[in-house]
């Protein structure tokens, strides 16, 4: 009977022990089965005689006796392993020195049940809050032309990017454009009696590569830390442009243009699966414009092929500003290294 009571006591301890331990962070799961490397014991703080006590709360470096690791029974499974008894890193008590007063030491002792802190909450270098490797990014955005004072395009843009590493990605992009004439387009015609030669853009697509060389974090009024990164983009694709005839009676035509692009995007991390993006991108192509003397030869002007043959080419840098959100899949991630 005594033997059976003992076995029940053991079972009681086995069941209760995991519930008494502090909650485990997700990274600790990756540590399962691994032993912690012994770390040197923290050096005791140098005594500071006659130093006024600081106003802010001190970090408590001692642990109540009830929670000393050497008094806990070791777990059978190894989960939640706090380390073996006697590990130097777990010895949080400060050696007494002559300068330490008893009153100060008593002040630091916390009663059981009150909140406590420890060095485990503070790390010197905080981990990046967002991992991208082997994740898929869906990036819808809207854009606006910023370097044309005659015709402006609104852009609906969608990108799908796959991150091969945390800094390198490959992806595809599709664009749809809506044109908007600006004030100068009307003024030049009305004031100076000159009709601008302008093309509009219909749609585009590209294959892009992205590289993230810049990582940053900033504080908003010293209250909250926000992480962001900057990525560079380079790619090649196509754009379809369409001539806007100066004489509406003449036929228009479209051009399919090879379009390399370069860009810069700022990304702010909002959640594990959402980021906010602001970017600039330059789409570079040689566009074909209506000949300024097209109307002089009516026979040729009415023929699309003849007009295309007489079209003049010009290098265009179509710079756009875009803003959008990115949605990441899978929606969560996990570190597999020590904290």
């Amino acid at each position: 009977m005594i033997r059976r009571a003992n076995s029940w006591l053991v079972m009681l301890a086995v069941v209760s022990l995991p519930l008494m331990l502090p909650p485990l962070s997700s990274d600790a799961w990756a540590q399962k089965g691994k032993k912690k490397a012994p770390a040197p014991a923290p050096k005791p703080a140098e005594p500071a005689p006659a130093e006024p006590k600081p106003a802010e709360p001190e970090i408590d470096m001692t642990q109540p006796e009830e929670a000393k690791p050497e008094e806990a029974k070791p777990s059978d499974t190894g989960e939640g392993d706090m380390g073996k008894a006697g590990d130097p890193e777990l010895d949080m008590t400060q050696p007494e020195t002559a300068a330490e007063t008893k009153a100060g030491k008593d002040e630091k002792d916390l009663k059981l049940g009150e909140t406590r802190g420890s060095w485990q909450d503070i790390v010197v270098v905080v981990r990046k809050p967002f991992l991208k490797m082997n994740r898929l990014e869906l990036m819808p955005s809207v854009g606006l032309t910023i370097n044309d004072n005659m015709i402006q395009h609104y852009e609906l843009n969608g990108q799908i990017n796959y991150y091969l590493t945390d800094v390198l990605a490959v992806g595809v992009e599709g664009q749809y454009f809506v044109k908007n004439f600006l004030e100068t387009y009307d003024l030049v015609a009305r004031q100076d009696r000159r009709l601008p030669t302008i093309n509009k853009y219909n749609y585009g697509a590209a294959l892009n590569f992205h590289y993230v060389p810049i990582y940053a974090k900033f504080s908003m009024l010293n209250k909250k830390i926000v992480h962001l990164e900057t990525l560079f983009t380079a790619g090649v694709g196509m754009t379809q442009s369409e001539v806007i005839p100066r004489d509406p009676a003449l036929p228009a035509w479209t051009n399919t243009l090879i379009t390399p692009n370069v860009g810069l995007t700022f990304r702010v991390f909002v959640a594990d699966w959402v980021t906010l993006n602001l970017g600039f991108k330059d789409y570079i192509f040689i566009d074909k414009f209506e000949n300024v003397r097209r109307s002089e030869d009516q026979m040729c002007a009415l023929s699309v092929q003849c007009s295309q043959d007489q079209a003049s080419g010009k290098l265009i840098n179509h710079v756009m500003f875009s803003a959008g959100l990115s949605f990441w899949f899978p929606t969560s991630f996990r570190y597999t290294t020590f904290r």
Binding site: W8, L12, V15, M20, I146, N149, D192, M220
Partner: protein
């Protein structure tokens, strides 16, 4: 009996486990950093420092004349987030591609029954911005660090500013209407007439091409901007900014509202966007460190 005591002990073990589990929340670790500033031992790179920033500014997406200017920005930072100051720039105008294209297609002389302006009329009506500037308040809510290729670490901040803005505009227009001397200015034509040498009153507002452009002189307004400092060391920073100056303007100097007269109804409240690059020097060179 043994079975009953075993069941009782098991139930007791489960009850204890539940109680301990609930009480375990009291052992939940509260971060000792809660309520503390996010950044300790922060270099107060702006607090109580004077900023002198020689800066180069240029217009973005100007219609007829680019303005290329150099100047200086002076700020005094009351705290790490708030400062006040002023800026002034001197510049020159350059033709845009549109201006060159239009000017190159115009003729040198007027044609009968053709309202197209001559090349000189078109170019003389355009204005330039030889002086512009402003004064106001700057708010710096964001500061942080950037890492370049995981090798170089720099402090940076982002600021927003706004306040009074102004520009002094000029054009090359000279009134050459008959009866008017070569030095007549726009103010003499406000009533729409001019008296010639014979004492006859003529209505000069019959051709917008030779009207006064009404786009010169001192123009008050507002300016708003945003920028970024990237600190090379504790007292020198690279400053990149965008600033928009809003004031009444008629860049082409021609009839905007289609009433066949160029007068003070044609200028409208327009934005003039500039991009600026400068070097900010923060004085004194020593910097305080926060707690």
């Amino acid at each position: 009996m043994l079975k009953r005591s075993g069941i009782t002990l098991l139930a007791a073990a489960i009850a204890v486990a539940i109680v301990v589990g609930l009480a375990g929340s009291a052992f939940a670790r509260k971060s000792p950093l809660e309520g503390q500033p996010d950044v300790r031992h922060k270099y107060e790179l702006r607090q109580l420092r004077f900023e002198v920033a020689p800066t180069f500014e240029a217009t973005v997406q100007a219609d007829y004349k680019h303005t290329i200017s150099g100047g200086i920005k002076l700020e005094y930072h009351l705290s790490d987030s708030l400062s006040f100051g002023g800026l002034i720039f001197l510049g020159t105008g350059l033709n845009t591609q549109l201006t060159d294209a239009v000017s190159g297609s115009l003729k040198d002389t007027e044609e009968p029954n053709n309202p197209t302006p001559t090349r000189k009329e078109f170019e003389d009506h355009l204005n330039t911005m030889p002086v512009h500037g402003g004064a106001g308040v700057t708010f710096t809510p964001w500061f942080g660090k950037i890492s370049l290729f995981s090798k170089l670490y720099l402090a940076f901040d982002v600021y927003l500013s706004g306040g009074f803005g102004f520009a002094n505009l000029e054009n090359k227009y000279k009134n050459t209407n008959p009866g008017g001397g070569p030095n007549d200015y726009c103010g003499k034509q406000k009533d729409g007439t001019i008296t010639d040498a014979n004492g006859q009153t003529q209505d000069v507002f019959n051709d917008p091409r030779n009207d006064c452009p009404y786009n010169s002189g001192f123009q008050p307004g507002v300016q708003v901007g945003a920028g970024m400092h990237v600190f090379i060391n504790k007292w020198i920073a690279l400053d990149v900014s965008f600033r928009d100056y809003f004031f009444k303007d008629n860049p082409s100097g021609q009839d905007f509202n289609a009433d066949l007269i160029v007068d003070d109804k044609d200028p409208r409240f327009l934005g003039h966007l500039f991009v600026g690059v400068g070097v900010s020097l923060f004085l004194p060179a020593r910097v305080k460190i926060s707690r």
